[in-house]
Symmetry: C2
Subunit: 241 residues, 2 copies
Amino acid sequence: MSPRVVSEGDRRRRRPTKQGAVLSQRLIIDTALRLVEQHGADALSVRRLGIALGADPSALYRYFRNTDDLLLALADEFIGRSLEGWEATGDWRTDLRAMGLRIHHSYHGQPQAALLVAHRTTGRIHETRAVETILGILRDGGFPDPLAVRIYHSFADQALAFAAQDAAAAALPPAAAEADAEVWRQAYGPLPAATHPHVAATYPLLAADMSGSGYPFALELMLTALETLHPDGAGGGRRDR
Amino acid sequence: MSPRVVSEGDRRRRRPTKQGAVLSQRLIIDTALRLVEQHGADALSVRRLGIALGADPSALYRYFRNTDDLLLALADEFIGRSLEGWEATGDWRTDLRAMGLRIHHSYHGQPQAALLVAHRTTGRIHETRAVETILGILRDGGFPDPLAVRIYHSFADQALAFAAQDAAAAALPPAAAEADAEVWRQAYGPLPAATHPHVAATYPLLAADMSGSGYPFALELMLTALETLHPDGAGGGRRDR
DNA sequence: GTTTACACGTCAATGGTGTTGACGTAAGCT
DNA sequence: AGCTTACGTCAACACCATTGACGTGTAAAC
Protein backbone atom coordinates (compact mmCIF):
# COMPACT_ATOMS: atom_id res chain seq x y z
CA MET A 1 0.00 0.00 0.00
CA SER A 2 1.21 3.46 -0.84
CA PRO A 3 1.29 6.29 1.66
CA ARG A 4 -1.48 8.80 1.24
CA VAL A 5 0.85 11.67 0.47
CA VAL A 6 3.81 11.25 -1.82
CA SER A 7 6.76 13.62 -1.56
CA GLU A 8 7.00 15.95 -4.51
CA GLY A 9 10.22 14.43 -5.79
CA ASP A 10 8.85 10.89 -6.04
CA ARG A 11 5.70 11.92 -7.80
CA ARG A 12 5.32 10.20 -11.18
CA ARG A 13 1.84 9.76 -12.52
CA ARG A 14 0.32 13.05 -13.52
CA ARG A 15 -3.23 12.01 -13.94
CA PRO A 16 -5.73 14.66 -14.94
CA THR A 17 -8.92 15.09 -12.95
CA LYS A 18 -12.33 14.56 -14.45
CA GLN A 19 -12.41 18.23 -15.29
CA GLY A 20 -9.00 18.09 -16.89
CA ALA A 21 -6.81 19.79 -14.28
CA VAL A 22 -3.37 18.35 -13.61
CA LEU A 23 -2.64 18.80 -9.93
CA SER A 24 0.64 19.68 -8.24
CA GLN A 25 1.74 21.29 -4.98
CA ARG A 26 2.53 24.48 -6.88
CA LEU A 27 -0.88 24.67 -8.52
CA ILE A 28 -2.64 23.95 -5.25
CA ILE A 29 -0.73 26.61 -3.32
CA ASP A 30 -1.20 29.20 -6.03
CA THR A 31 -4.88 28.43 -6.29
CA ALA A 32 -5.28 28.61 -2.53
CA LEU A 33 -3.54 31.99 -2.39
CA ARG A 34 -5.76 33.27 -5.17
CA LEU A 35 -8.83 31.99 -3.37
CA VAL A 36 -7.86 33.79 -0.17
CA GLU A 37 -7.01 37.01 -1.99
CA GLN A 38 -10.23 37.09 -3.96
CA HIS A 39 -12.83 35.79 -1.57
CA GLY A 40 -11.37 36.33 1.88
CA ALA A 41 -9.74 34.13 4.44
CA ASP A 42 -12.74 32.00 5.25
CA ALA A 43 -13.23 31.04 1.61
CA LEU A 44 -10.35 28.65 2.08
CA SER A 45 -11.80 25.25 2.84
CA VAL A 46 -10.83 21.89 1.47
CA ARG A 47 -14.12 21.60 -0.33
CA ARG A 48 -13.97 25.02 -1.94
CA LEU A 49 -10.34 24.60 -2.85
CA GLY A 50 -11.23 21.32 -4.51
CA ILE A 51 -13.95 23.01 -6.52
CA ALA A 52 -11.63 25.86 -7.51
CA LEU A 53 -9.08 23.33 -8.70
CA GLY A 54 -11.64 21.27 -10.58
CA ALA A 55 -10.94 18.19 -8.53
CA ASP A 56 -12.45 16.14 -5.77
CA PRO A 57 -11.66 17.76 -2.41
CA SER A 58 -10.12 14.59 -1.10
CA ALA A 59 -7.52 14.67 -3.86
CA LEU A 60 -5.71 17.35 -1.82
CA TYR A 61 -4.76 14.72 0.71
CA ARG A 62 -2.51 13.18 -1.92
CA TYR A 63 -0.43 16.37 -1.75
CA PHE A 64 -0.68 17.59 1.86
CA ARG A 65 -1.07 15.56 5.02
CA ASN A 66 -3.78 17.88 6.32
CA THR A 67 -4.92 21.49 6.10
CA ASP A 68 -2.31 22.60 8.61
CA ASP A 69 0.37 21.23 6.34
CA LEU A 70 -1.14 23.14 3.45
CA LEU A 71 -1.35 26.39 5.40
CA LEU A 72 2.25 26.13 6.54
CA ALA A 73 3.27 25.73 2.93
CA LEU A 74 1.27 28.86 2.12
CA ALA A 75 2.94 30.73 4.97
CA ASP A 76 6.40 29.72 3.87
CA GLU A 77 5.60 30.90 0.40
CA PHE A 78 4.74 34.43 1.47
CA ILE A 79 7.61 34.72 3.95
CA GLY A 80 9.83 34.22 0.95
CA ARG A 81 7.99 36.91 -0.96
CA SER A 82 8.01 39.40 1.90
CA LEU A 83 11.80 39.53 2.11
CA GLU A 84 12.27 39.90 -1.60
CA GLY A 85 14.06 42.95 -2.87
CA TRP A 86 14.93 44.76 0.36
CA GLU A 87 18.19 46.69 0.38
CA ALA A 88 20.06 48.36 3.23
CA THR A 89 20.73 52.10 3.13
CA GLY A 90 23.31 52.07 5.92
CA ASP A 91 21.34 54.31 8.27
CA TRP A 92 20.09 52.16 11.11
CA ARG A 93 16.95 54.24 11.74
CA THR A 94 15.88 54.09 8.12
CA ASP A 95 16.71 50.43 7.80
CA LEU A 96 14.97 49.36 11.00
CA ARG A 97 11.91 51.36 10.07
CA ALA A 98 11.78 49.84 6.60
CA MET A 99 12.26 46.35 7.98
CA GLY A 100 9.50 46.74 10.53
CA LEU A 101 6.99 48.18 8.14
CA ARG A 102 7.83 45.57 5.54
CA ILE A 103 7.24 42.67 7.90
CA HIS A 104 4.07 44.24 9.17
CA HIS A 105 2.78 44.96 5.70
CA SER A 106 3.48 41.59 4.17
CA TYR A 107 1.90 39.69 7.03
CA HIS A 108 -1.11 41.88 6.77
CA GLY A 109 -1.44 40.91 3.13
CA GLN A 110 -1.96 37.24 3.94
CA PRO A 111 -3.62 37.27 7.33
CA GLN A 112 -4.65 33.64 7.38
CA ALA A 113 -1.20 32.26 6.81
CA ALA A 114 0.29 34.99 9.00
CA LEU A 115 -1.77 33.88 11.94
CA LEU A 116 -0.40 30.39 11.71
CA VAL A 117 3.22 31.26 11.38
CA ALA A 118 3.64 34.47 13.37
CA HIS A 119 4.20 32.76 16.67
CA ARG A 120 6.27 29.85 15.45
CA THR A 121 10.01 29.73 15.16
CA THR A 122 10.67 28.08 11.84
CA GLY A 123 14.46 28.19 11.73
CA ARG A 124 14.17 28.04 7.98
CA ILE A 125 16.27 29.88 5.51
CA HIS A 126 14.19 33.03 5.16
CA GLU A 127 13.78 33.44 8.90
CA THR A 128 17.46 33.05 9.68
CA ARG A 129 18.29 35.56 6.98
CA ALA A 130 15.92 38.07 8.53
CA VAL A 131 17.50 37.62 11.96
CA GLU A 132 20.93 38.09 10.49
CA THR A 133 19.85 41.22 8.65
CA ILE A 134 18.27 42.93 11.65
CA LEU A 135 21.17 42.06 13.93
CA GLY A 136 23.49 43.43 11.29
CA ILE A 137 21.63 46.72 11.13
CA LEU A 138 21.97 47.15 14.89
CA ARG A 139 25.58 46.05 15.27
CA ASP A 140 26.78 47.97 12.23
CA GLY A 141 24.76 50.90 13.55
CA GLY A 142 26.97 51.03 16.61
CA PHE A 143 24.99 49.27 19.31
CA PRO A 144 27.13 47.04 21.54
CA ASP A 145 26.33 43.35 21.35
CA PRO A 146 24.32 42.85 24.57
CA LEU A 147 22.18 45.87 23.78
CA ALA A 148 21.85 44.91 20.13
CA VAL A 149 20.54 41.50 21.10
CA ARG A 150 17.97 42.89 23.52
CA ILE A 151 16.84 45.41 20.96
CA TYR A 152 16.66 42.76 18.27
CA HIS A 153 14.46 40.64 20.49
CA SER A 154 12.01 43.38 21.30
CA PHE A 155 12.03 44.81 17.81
CA ALA A 156 11.38 41.48 16.10
CA ASP A 157 8.80 40.35 18.61
CA GLN A 158 7.01 43.66 18.36
CA ALA A 159 6.89 43.55 14.58
CA LEU A 160 5.61 39.99 14.61
CA ALA A 161 3.20 40.58 17.47
CA PHE A 162 1.63 43.61 15.79
CA ALA A 163 1.62 41.81 12.47
CA ALA A 164 -0.23 38.88 13.98
CA GLN A 165 -2.58 41.18 15.83
CA ASP A 166 -3.49 43.16 12.73
CA ALA A 167 -3.62 40.03 10.62
CA ALA A 168 -6.03 38.50 13.09
CA ALA A 169 -8.27 41.52 12.74
CA ALA A 170 -8.07 41.25 8.97
CA ALA A 171 -8.83 37.55 9.11
CA LEU A 172 -11.99 37.91 11.12
CA PRO A 173 -15.17 36.73 9.45
CA PRO A 174 -16.80 39.75 7.79
CA ALA A 175 -19.60 39.91 10.32
CA ALA A 176 -17.20 40.05 13.26
CA ALA A 177 -14.99 42.59 11.54
CA GLU A 178 -17.99 44.82 10.92
CA ALA A 179 -18.98 44.44 14.56
CA ASP A 180 -15.55 45.48 15.79
CA ALA A 181 -15.62 48.60 13.65
CA GLU A 182 -19.12 49.53 14.75
CA VAL A 183 -18.22 49.11 18.39
CA TRP A 184 -16.27 52.34 18.43
CA ARG A 185 -19.29 54.27 17.21
CA GLN A 186 -22.01 52.49 19.10
CA ALA A 187 -20.34 51.70 22.42
CA TYR A 188 -17.84 54.51 22.89
CA GLY A 189 -19.69 57.36 21.23
CA PRO A 190 -22.58 57.54 23.72
CA LEU A 191 -20.42 57.23 26.85
CA PRO A 192 -21.33 60.16 29.10
CA ALA A 193 -18.75 62.51 30.57
CA ALA A 194 -20.07 61.71 34.00
CA THR A 195 -18.80 58.15 34.02
CA HIS A 196 -16.12 58.25 31.31
CA PRO A 197 -14.78 61.83 31.17
CA HIS A 198 -11.58 61.03 29.29
CA VAL A 199 -13.28 58.95 26.61
CA ALA A 200 -15.99 61.58 26.21
CA ALA A 201 -13.46 64.40 25.92
CA THR A 202 -11.42 62.70 23.22
CA TYR A 203 -14.05 60.66 21.43
CA PRO A 204 -13.71 62.18 17.94
CA LEU A 205 -9.94 61.82 18.08
CA LEU A 206 -10.28 58.27 19.35
CA ALA A 207 -12.72 57.10 16.73
CA ALA A 208 -10.52 58.51 13.98
CA ASP A 209 -7.29 57.07 15.34
CA MET A 210 -8.49 53.57 16.19
CA SER A 211 -9.44 52.69 12.64
CA GLY A 212 -5.80 52.22 11.66
CA SER A 213 -3.01 50.11 13.07
CA GLY A 214 -1.14 51.23 16.16
CA TYR A 215 2.10 49.80 14.82
CA PRO A 216 3.58 52.68 12.81
CA PHE A 217 3.50 55.03 15.80
CA ALA A 218 4.74 52.30 18.16
CA LEU A 219 7.63 51.76 15.77
CA GLU A 220 8.46 55.47 15.76
CA LEU A 221 8.38 55.48 19.55
CA MET A 222 10.80 52.58 19.63
CA LEU A 223 13.15 54.34 17.21
CA THR A 224 12.98 57.49 19.33
CA ALA A 225 13.92 55.51 22.42
CA LEU A 226 16.79 53.83 20.59
CA GLU A 227 18.26 57.22 19.77
CA THR A 228 18.56 57.98 23.47
CA LEU A 229 20.11 54.58 24.16
CA HIS A 230 22.66 54.87 21.38
CA PRO A 231 26.24 55.08 22.66
CA ASP A 232 26.88 58.21 20.56
CA GLY A 233 24.67 60.21 22.89
CA ALA A 234 21.82 61.77 20.97
CA GLY A 235 22.35 59.21 18.21
CA GLY A 236 23.73 61.51 15.56
CA GLY A 237 22.13 64.70 16.76
CA ARG A 238 18.68 64.27 15.31
CA ARG A 239 16.92 64.72 18.57
CA ASP A 240 17.08 67.73 20.85
CA ARG A 241 15.54 68.62 24.13
CA MET B 1 -43.52 35.90 19.68
CA SER B 2 -40.61 36.44 22.02
CA PRO B 3 -37.15 37.26 20.76
CA ARG B 4 -34.73 34.39 20.88
CA VAL B 5 -32.40 36.08 23.34
CA VAL B 6 -33.72 38.04 26.29
CA SER B 7 -31.58 40.76 27.87
CA GLU B 8 -30.34 39.80 31.30
CA GLY B 9 -32.42 42.41 33.12
CA ASP B 10 -35.74 41.26 31.68
CA ARG B 11 -35.10 37.62 32.41
CA ARG B 12 -37.76 36.14 34.69
CA ARG B 13 -38.37 32.44 34.47
CA ARG B 14 -35.47 30.45 35.79
CA ARG B 15 -36.34 27.06 34.55
CA PRO B 16 -33.97 24.22 35.36
CA THR B 17 -32.73 21.98 32.58
CA LYS B 18 -33.46 18.27 32.48
CA GLN B 19 -30.26 17.71 34.36
CA GLY B 20 -31.16 20.30 36.96
CA ALA B 21 -28.87 23.18 36.05
CA VAL B 22 -30.25 26.71 36.25
CA LEU B 23 -28.69 28.69 33.45
CA SER B 24 -27.54 32.30 33.47
CA GLN B 25 -25.07 34.41 31.52
CA ARG B 26 -22.73 34.27 34.50
CA LEU B 27 -22.84 30.49 34.75
CA ILE B 28 -22.34 30.09 31.03
CA ILE B 29 -19.34 32.42 30.89
CA ASP B 30 -17.72 30.86 33.95
CA THR B 31 -18.26 27.39 32.55
CA ALA B 32 -16.85 28.41 29.19
CA LEU B 33 -13.73 29.87 30.80
CA ARG B 34 -13.25 26.72 32.84
CA LEU B 35 -13.71 24.60 29.75
CA VAL B 36 -11.03 26.55 27.91
CA GLU B 37 -8.70 26.50 30.89
CA GLN B 38 -8.92 22.77 31.31
CA HIS B 39 -9.14 21.48 27.78
CA GLY B 40 -7.78 24.21 25.55
CA ALA B 41 -9.31 26.68 23.15
CA ASP B 42 -10.41 23.99 20.74
CA ALA B 43 -12.63 22.44 23.39
CA LEU B 44 -14.94 25.44 23.23
CA SER B 45 -17.88 24.59 21.01
CA VAL B 46 -21.57 25.16 21.51
CA ARG B 47 -22.14 21.44 21.77
CA ARG B 48 -19.45 20.79 24.33
CA LEU B 49 -20.41 23.84 26.33
CA GLY B 50 -23.97 22.58 26.39
CA ILE B 51 -22.83 19.22 27.71
CA ALA B 52 -20.62 20.84 30.35
CA LEU B 53 -23.56 22.92 31.50
CA GLY B 54 -25.93 19.99 31.54
CA ALA B 55 -28.23 21.56 28.97
CA ASP B 56 -29.17 21.24 25.35
CA PRO B 57 -26.62 23.14 23.22
CA SER B 58 -29.34 25.22 21.63
CA ALA B 59 -30.31 26.60 25.02
CA LEU B 60 -27.28 28.88 24.77
CA TYR B 61 -29.04 30.82 22.07
CA ARG B 62 -31.45 32.05 24.73
CA TYR B 63 -28.53 33.86 26.35
CA PHE B 64 -26.22 34.84 23.49
CA ARG B 65 -27.16 35.74 19.94
CA ASN B 66 -24.38 33.57 18.51
CA THR B 67 -20.94 32.25 19.37
CA ASP B 68 -19.31 35.56 18.56
CA ASP B 69 -21.51 37.26 21.12
CA LEU B 70 -20.44 34.68 23.67
CA LEU B 71 -16.79 35.15 22.75
CA LEU B 72 -16.99 38.90 23.28
CA ALA B 73 -18.57 38.39 26.67
CA LEU B 74 -15.75 36.02 27.46
CA ALA B 75 -13.19 38.58 26.34
CA ASP B 76 -14.65 41.32 28.47
CA GLU B 77 -14.74 39.08 31.52
CA PHE B 78 -11.09 38.44 30.91
CA ILE B 79 -10.22 42.14 30.74
CA GLY B 80 -12.15 42.69 33.94
CA ARG B 81 -10.27 40.01 35.81
CA SER B 82 -6.88 41.23 34.68
CA LEU B 83 -7.43 44.77 35.97
CA GLU B 84 -9.06 43.82 39.25
CA GLY B 85 -7.57 45.61 42.22
CA TRP B 86 -5.32 47.97 40.32
CA GLU B 87 -4.84 51.43 41.81
CA ALA B 88 -3.30 54.56 40.35
CA THR B 89 -0.22 56.07 41.93
CA GLY B 90 -0.45 59.37 40.06
CA ASP B 91 2.85 59.00 38.24
CA TRP B 92 2.12 58.28 34.62
CA ARG B 93 5.27 56.24 34.02
CA THR B 94 4.62 53.99 36.99
CA ASP B 95 0.95 53.64 36.16
CA LEU B 96 1.46 52.89 32.49
CA ARG B 97 4.15 50.36 33.28
CA ALA B 98 1.97 48.64 35.87
CA MET B 99 -0.96 48.61 33.49
CA GLY B 100 1.05 47.07 30.66
CA LEU B 101 2.70 44.42 32.78
CA ARG B 102 -0.59 43.53 34.41
CA ILE B 103 -2.34 42.95 31.10
CA HIS B 104 0.60 41.00 29.79
CA HIS B 105 0.83 38.89 32.91
CA SER B 106 -2.83 37.97 33.17
CA TYR B 107 -3.04 36.98 29.54
CA HIS B 108 0.04 34.88 30.01
CA GLY B 109 -1.66 33.08 32.87
CA GLN B 110 -4.58 32.05 30.69
CA PRO B 111 -2.91 31.52 27.34
CA GLN B 112 -5.65 29.46 25.77
CA ALA B 113 -8.35 31.97 26.54
CA ALA B 114 -6.10 34.91 25.70
CA LEU B 115 -5.54 33.57 22.22
CA LEU B 116 -9.22 33.41 21.58
CA VAL B 117 -9.86 36.90 22.73
CA ALA B 118 -6.87 39.20 22.46
CA HIS B 119 -7.70 40.79 19.14
CA ARG B 120 -11.35 41.69 19.60
CA THR B 121 -12.86 45.03 20.51
CA THR B 122 -15.69 44.30 22.88
CA GLY B 123 -17.05 47.74 23.71
CA ARG B 124 -18.39 46.29 26.92
CA ILE B 125 -18.15 47.50 30.47
CA HIS B 126 -14.72 46.23 31.48
CA GLU B 127 -13.10 47.27 28.26
CA THR B 128 -14.50 50.77 28.29
CA ARG B 129 -13.31 51.18 31.86
CA ALA B 130 -9.82 50.09 30.87
CA VAL B 131 -9.77 52.56 27.99
CA GLU B 132 -10.98 55.32 30.30
CA THR B 133 -8.28 54.46 32.84
CA ILE B 134 -5.39 54.49 30.40
CA LEU B 135 -6.57 57.67 28.71
CA GLY B 136 -6.87 59.21 32.15
CA ILE B 137 -3.29 58.32 33.04
CA LEU B 138 -2.05 60.02 29.88
CA ARG B 139 -4.23 63.13 30.03
CA ASP B 140 -3.72 63.66 33.75
CA GLY B 141 -0.06 63.04 33.11
CA GLY B 142 0.06 66.13 30.95
CA PHE B 143 -0.10 64.80 27.39
CA PRO B 144 -2.28 66.94 25.10
CA ASP B 145 -5.34 65.17 23.73
CA PRO B 146 -4.23 64.33 20.17
CA LEU B 147 -0.96 62.92 21.46
CA ALA B 148 -2.66 61.10 24.33
CA VAL B 149 -4.97 59.36 21.91
CA ARG B 150 -2.17 58.24 19.61
CA ILE B 151 -0.17 57.01 22.56
CA TYR B 152 -3.17 55.20 23.99
CA HIS B 153 -3.69 53.40 20.72
CA SER B 154 -0.10 52.23 20.37
CA PHE B 155 0.25 51.41 24.05
CA ALA B 156 -2.90 49.30 24.22
CA ASP B 157 -2.21 47.53 20.94
CA GLN B 158 1.33 46.82 22.01
CA ALA B 159 0.25 45.28 25.30
CA LEU B 160 -2.43 43.18 23.64
CA ALA B 161 -0.27 42.15 20.72
CA PHE B 162 2.58 41.00 22.93
CA ALA B 163 0.14 39.32 25.27
CA ALA B 164 -1.36 37.35 22.41
CA GLN B 165 2.05 36.55 21.01
CA ASP B 166 3.41 35.22 24.28
CA ALA B 167 0.16 33.46 25.08
CA ALA B 168 0.38 31.68 21.76
CA ALA B 169 3.83 30.42 22.62
CA ALA B 170 2.65 29.31 26.06
CA ALA B 171 -0.39 27.59 24.59
CA LEU B 172 1.51 25.39 22.16
CA PRO B 173 1.16 21.68 22.83
CA PRO B 174 4.25 20.48 24.76
CA ALA B 175 5.65 18.67 21.77
CA ALA B 176 5.44 21.71 19.52
CA ALA B 177 6.84 23.99 22.23
CA GLU B 178 9.80 21.67 22.66
CA ALA B 179 10.32 21.68 18.92
CA ASP B 180 10.26 25.48 18.75
CA ALA B 181 12.82 25.72 21.54
CA GLU B 182 15.03 23.17 19.84
CA VAL B 183 15.01 25.23 16.69
CA TRP B 184 17.12 27.90 18.34
CA ARG B 185 19.77 25.37 19.26
CA GLN B 186 19.63 23.26 16.14
CA ALA B 187 19.05 25.86 13.46
CA TYR B 188 20.78 28.95 14.86
CA GLY B 189 23.60 27.39 16.84
CA PRO B 190 25.40 25.86 13.89
CA LEU B 191 25.10 28.87 11.59
CA PRO B 192 28.62 29.61 10.33
CA ALA B 193 30.20 33.05 10.57
CA ALA B 194 30.78 32.93 6.86
CA THR B 195 27.10 33.20 5.96
CA HIS B 196 25.64 34.62 9.18
CA PRO B 197 28.37 36.63 10.90
CA HIS B 198 26.09 38.61 13.20
CA VAL B 199 24.17 35.59 14.43
CA ALA B 200 27.38 33.66 14.95
CA ALA B 201 28.99 36.52 16.86
CA THR B 202 26.12 36.96 19.27
CA TYR B 203 24.74 33.45 19.48
CA PRO B 204 25.22 32.87 23.24
CA LEU B 205 23.60 36.21 24.03
CA LEU B 206 20.82 35.49 21.57
CA ALA B 207 20.01 32.03 22.89
CA ALA B 208 19.89 33.36 26.45
CA ASP B 209 17.78 36.40 25.62
CA MET B 210 15.25 34.73 23.34
CA SER B 211 13.95 32.42 26.04
CA GLY B 212 12.04 35.26 27.75
CA SER B 213 9.47 37.69 26.49
CA GLY B 214 10.46 40.76 24.54
CA TYR B 215 7.67 42.80 26.06
CA PRO B 216 9.20 44.24 29.23
CA PHE B 217 12.03 45.83 27.31
CA ALA B 218 9.74 47.00 24.54
CA LEU B 219 7.55 48.61 27.18
CA GLU B 220 10.55 50.39 28.71
CA LEU B 221 11.53 51.65 25.29
CA MET B 222 8.06 53.05 24.77
CA LEU B 223 8.16 54.79 28.16
CA THR B 224 11.57 56.22 27.35
CA ALA B 225 10.23 57.61 24.10
CA LEU B 226 7.23 59.10 25.86
CA GLU B 227 9.52 61.05 28.18
CA THR B 228 11.03 62.82 25.20
CA LEU B 229 7.61 63.55 23.72
CA HIS B 230 6.22 64.95 26.95
CA PRO B 231 5.45 68.68 26.78
CA ASP B 232 7.42 69.34 29.98
CA GLY B 233 10.64 68.42 28.23
CA ALA B 234 12.19 65.71 30.33
CA GLY B 235 8.75 64.75 31.55
CA GLY B 236 9.54 65.82 35.07
CA GLY B 237 6.32 66.09 36.95
CA ARG B 238 2.69 65.37 37.16
CA ARG B 239 0.31 67.97 35.83
CA ASP B 240 -2.94 68.88 37.48
CA ARG B 241 -6.08 69.70 35.62
C1' DG C 1 -55.96 29.62 45.08
C1' DT C 2 -56.72 29.34 40.34
C1' DT C 3 -55.92 30.67 35.94
C1' DT C 4 -53.31 32.05 32.21
C1' DA C 5 -49.44 33.67 29.20
C1' DC C 6 -45.25 32.99 27.59
C1' DA C 7 -40.11 32.10 28.61
C1' DC C 8 -37.15 28.90 27.75
C1' DG C 9 -35.40 24.13 27.50
C1' DT C 10 -35.73 20.54 24.03
C1' DC C 11 -35.89 18.19 19.66
C1' DA C 12 -35.02 17.66 14.90
C1' DA C 13 -33.23 19.21 10.79
C1' DT C 14 -30.08 21.96 7.60
C1' DG C 15 -25.97 22.75 5.47
C1' DG C 16 -21.39 23.49 6.54
C1' DT C 17 -16.54 21.55 7.98
C1' DG C 18 -12.06 18.17 7.88
C1' DT C 19 -10.77 13.57 7.14
C1' DT C 20 -10.50 8.48 5.85
C1' DG C 21 -11.07 3.79 3.58
C1' DA C 22 -12.22 1.43 -0.47
C1' DC C 23 -12.10 1.17 -5.24
C1' DG C 24 -10.92 1.11 -10.11
C1' DT C 25 -8.85 3.48 -13.96
C1' DA C 26 -5.23 4.71 -16.56
C1' DA C 27 -0.21 6.22 -16.57
C1' DG C 28 4.25 5.01 -17.13
C1' DC C 29 7.57 1.51 -16.44
C1' DT C 30 9.63 -2.87 -18.29
C1' DA D 1 1.77 -5.48 -24.53
C1' DG D 2 1.43 -6.19 -19.90
C1' DC D 3 1.80 -4.98 -15.09
C1' DT D 4 1.92 -2.15 -10.94
C1' DT D 5 0.28 1.13 -8.49
C1' DA D 6 -0.45 6.30 -8.09
C1' DC D 7 -3.98 8.96 -7.53
C1' DG D 8 -8.64 10.80 -8.54
C1' DT D 9 -13.21 9.62 -6.97
C1' DC D 10 -16.94 8.23 -4.10
C1' DA D 11 -19.26 7.59 0.11
C1' DA D 12 -19.31 7.86 4.75
C1' DC D 13 -18.19 9.64 9.45
C1' DA D 14 -18.05 12.82 13.09
C1' DC D 15 -18.13 17.18 14.20
C1' DC D 16 -19.60 22.14 13.77
C1' DA D 17 -23.18 26.55 14.30
C1' DT D 18 -27.68 27.77 13.82
C1' DT D 19 -32.87 27.79 13.43
C1' DG D 20 -38.06 26.68 13.69
C1' DA D 21 -41.44 24.29 16.07
C1' DC D 22 -43.19 22.60 20.22
C1' DG D 23 -44.92 21.99 24.84
C1' DT D 24 -43.86 22.29 29.77
C1' DG D 25 -44.10 24.47 33.90
C1' DT D 26 -43.06 28.93 36.10
C1' DA D 27 -44.45 33.10 37.77
C1' DA D 28 -47.45 36.72 37.36
C1' DA D 29 -52.38 38.21 37.44
C1' DC D 30 -56.57 37.88 39.40
